[in-house]
């Protein structure tokens, strides 16, 4: 008897859940890097009282494997914010829905961030819509600049000025350092723009050829080796894979570091005592570059809740949505209303937005993760070996060979 009742209950359960289905909250994933922005963003959206979203934050470097596992188990979220770098890989693996029908109803579509759209396109379809933009910039501590006798309103415009400022700040002594970049990770976002700003390229335009060994890259490495030799960076940079990238700067102990718009949000909300300025990442003799990053909104192939997701997309592209991005440490993606969206925000966001608009680039490669993201991959290894090691030529030759091998294997 008991068993039968139990069976009966089990059989009616699916029917119940089908009935409840339309009221269930939308499931959404976002990577931990953007947690600061997306949490209040979703809260604001949910507070409107219509469609509800259940947000899960996934550790950034585990996003792809978590999603793959969930997709295989048919428990993928309805939609997610995907590091735009991964959009080509997801789209070509047939995991996403084509969103191009929506774009016809978006009069502002052409003003959406080109970098995002470019990475979202595949075979004439559009698998990703821009959600938030990000870019790398140089931030500097104005208080330390002043103490070191530098003009806090005149940020460095070339490598010589960076080195000079770093040495003067280090000369203040104690645990105050001139410069900080993680040595063993997060090197694409931070070091690629240094090479780019110097006119260097690491991949050919079609992504098929590695061009690591160039005078421009050698100069960029020489610039960092010099900073390291002058002891303006703390020793802990060598082993830092990224978690401590902002720690020293937030504590007011680091003069300059390379970071992104997200850091403006972190610093202003959590470390209001740090008085800092933002400036583009300069080249050896001026000019600048930035790593254009950010997130795309992508929709899982299996979901049937497109109208509800569309509601979220429309909110994201409203002036309110675009303003929220800037408020919590990201950049708007709608060019036509970006200035209006940032008007009430910290003006430093505009500096980042400008650096991205005028000098922003994103490498497109189907093996991006292997080449640039992997903590054991050739880019991070080159960064660590060539800057902090003794064999620059060997490190560069090895990186060139490994890059090319990984690219060849994928084709």
């Amino acid at each position: 008897m008991k068993r039968r009742t139990f069976l009966g209950a089990a059989m009616s359960a699916p029917m119940l859940s089908t009935a409840a289905w339309s009221q269930e909250p939308l499931s959404m994933w976002a990577r931990s890097d953007v947690a600061n922005v997306i949490r209040p963003f979703v809260d604001t959206f949910n507070a409107k009282g219509k469609t509800q979203i259940k947000l899960d934050i996934v550790v950034a470097r585990e996003m792809v494997q978590k999603y793959a596992a969930a997709a295989a188990a048919r428990s993928a979220p309805d939609f997610l914010l995907l590091d735009l770098i991964y959009t080509p890989a997801f789209a070509s693996a047939d995991q996403l829905q084509d969103l191009s029908p929506w774009t016809k109803e978006m009069p502002y579509f052409e003003s959406l961030s080109p970098a995002h759209r470019k990475l979202g396109e595949l075979d004439g379809k559009l698998y990703g819509l821009p959600f938030s933009a990000e870019g790398s910039v140089l931030v500097y501590n104005k208080k330390l600049f002043r103490e070191a006798g530098l003009d806090p309103e005149k940020p460095p415009k070339n490598w010589g000025e960076i080195t000079d400022a770093a040495v003067k700040i280090r000369a203040l002594g104690g645990d105050r350092y001139g410069y900080y970049v993680p040595g063993a990770g997060a090197a694409a976002f931070r070091f690629l723009p240094v090479v780019w700003a110097n006119g260097g390229e690491v991949l050919s335009a079609d992504g098929k050829k590695a061009t690591i060994d160039s005078p421009q890259l050698r100069e960029a490495i020489g610039f960092y080796r010099d900073l390291w030799a002058k002891k303006v960076m703390p020793e802990s940079v060598v082993a830092d894979t990224g978690p401590d990238a902002l720690t020293g700067f937030a504590a007011g102990r680091v003069g300059m570091t390379i970071t992104g718009a997200f850091a403006i949000g972190v610093l202003t909300t959590r470390y209001p005592d740090v008085e800092f300025g933002v400036t583009p990442i300069p080249g050896k003799n001026g000019g600048f570059a930035s790593f254009a990053g950010g997130d795309n909104i992508v929709v899982s192939r299996g979901t049937r809740r497109l109208p509800a997701i569309r509601e979220f997309v429309d909110f994201a592209y409203s002036l309110e949505g675009q303003s929220l991005l800037g408020k919590y440490g990201s950049l708007p993606v709608r060019g036509d209303i970006a200035a209006a969206a940032l008007k009430e925000n910290d003006p430093r966001y505009l500096t980042v937005a400008e650096a991205v608009n005028k000098g922003g680039r994103t490498p497109r490669s189907s093996v991006y993760n292997d080449l640039f993201n992997s903590l054991n991959g050739p880019w991070v290894t080159l960064h660590q070996r060539a800057i902090f090691g003794n064999d620059v030529d060997g490190a560069i030759a090895q990186a060139q060979a490994t890059f090319q091998r990984i690219i060849n294997e994928a084709n």
Partner: protein, 317 residues
């Protein structure tokens, strides 16, 4: 051989049979063998569901080009052929071998003396036993995170503490150089894992009848001789178990390298499992990762057989 069954006047119920075999009456022979099967059934089910089935699946995957996202394609044994020229994997295997040898020797060098120390009743022996075993109940992940923090050159514990003690004059970043980082991780693992070996060896030591050692002492055997001819032969099986567990854990080491140095510095600490993880989840080649896993499993089985053979107890001893 079947022993003559007792003439049954009536058929036993299964409860009686269970009771009888639990009391140890009558060997589990002949038709009673099903009882034994019944008793290990839950274990068999678990083994099938969580080991055999996944193993077969991994074997099947290893015959495919199986991307993390996308459709798998059957390629036969090509993954295994790729393995032969994959220098990265061979480097990782070599590192795992080096690590296994060093950490196993280190663990036993610590575990043996400590096991002898806590074997006999002495003041505070309970405290020492607990203290030696306590790190084992910590997760390896938490222990590794703790180690990262303790080793941090600026706001950790080791550097500032050693400076206060006057042993070093400036902070040392152990995790910066390959050799010192390797030693640092070995120290952490010995601290964390030797408790298991201590407890195993302790049970072995305590199972030795004291009369044997007394008799040996009376016959004039000295400390080392007593260990060589009495103690060690009698704890041989326990030692083999502790050794195999330690070697297996070390060959499969991953967490500590992933958490403490992310395989660095300078990729010097990429273990075999780390390489498999990178292949599967960074390069997204699940099929090839599966093939590497199968190879590692075969190697591990081989290692265990060799160890069991070397430490076998001869018949009649």
């Amino acid at each position: 051989m079947a022993s003559p069954a007792a003439p049954a006047t009536r058929k036993e119920t299964w409860k009686e049979k269970l009771r009888r075999s639990l009391r140890g009456e009558g060997g589990v022979v002949g038709q009673e063998r099903w009882l034994g099967v019944l008793l290990i059934l839950p274990a068999l089910v678990l083994l099938t569901a969580f080991f055999l089935v996944p193993l077969v699946m991994v074997g099947w995957m290893s015959l495919h080009n199986w991307p993390l996202l996308g459709r798998p394609r059957f390629i036969g044994l090509r993954n295994y052929a790729t393995m032969l020229t994959d220098t990265g994997f061979w480097h990782a295997l070599w590192f795992s071998a080096k690590y296994t040898i060093v950490v196993t020797i280190a663990i036993f060098a610590v575990a043996f003396p400590l096991a002898f120390f806590v074997e006999r009743p002495r003041p505070f022996v309970g405290f020492f036993r607990t203290a030696f075993f306590l790190p084992v109940v910590l997760g390896l992940g938490s222990a590794s995170l703790l180690w990262v923090w303790l080793s941090n050159v600026d706001f950790g514990l080791f550097s500032p503490a050693l400076m206060k003690l006057g042993l070093i004059d400036r902070p040392v970043s152990w995790l910066m150089q390959p050799t010192s980082a390797f030693i640092s991780i070995i120290v952490m693992v010995v601290w964390k894992a030797s408790g298991t070996s201590i407890v195993l060896l302790l049970t072995g030591l305590q199972a030795i009848p004291p009369e044997l050692k007394e008799a040996a002492s009376i016959d004039g055997a000295r400390g080392w001789q007593r260990f060589r001819y009495i103690t060690f032969p009698l704890i041989r099986r326990t030692f083999a178990l502790a050794l195999i567990l330690s070697v297996t854990h070390s060959v499969l080491a991953f967490d500590q390298f992933y958490i403490i140095t992310a395989g660095g510095p300078d990729n010097s600490m990429l273990s075999a499992v780390y390489w498999i993880m990178n292949t599967s989840f960074v390069s997204f080649k699940l099929g090839y990762g599966a093939a590497l896993s199968i190879a590692l499993l075969a190697l591990l089985v081989l290692l265990s057989i060799v160890q069991l053979y070397l430490l076998r107890t001869k018949e009649g001893q």
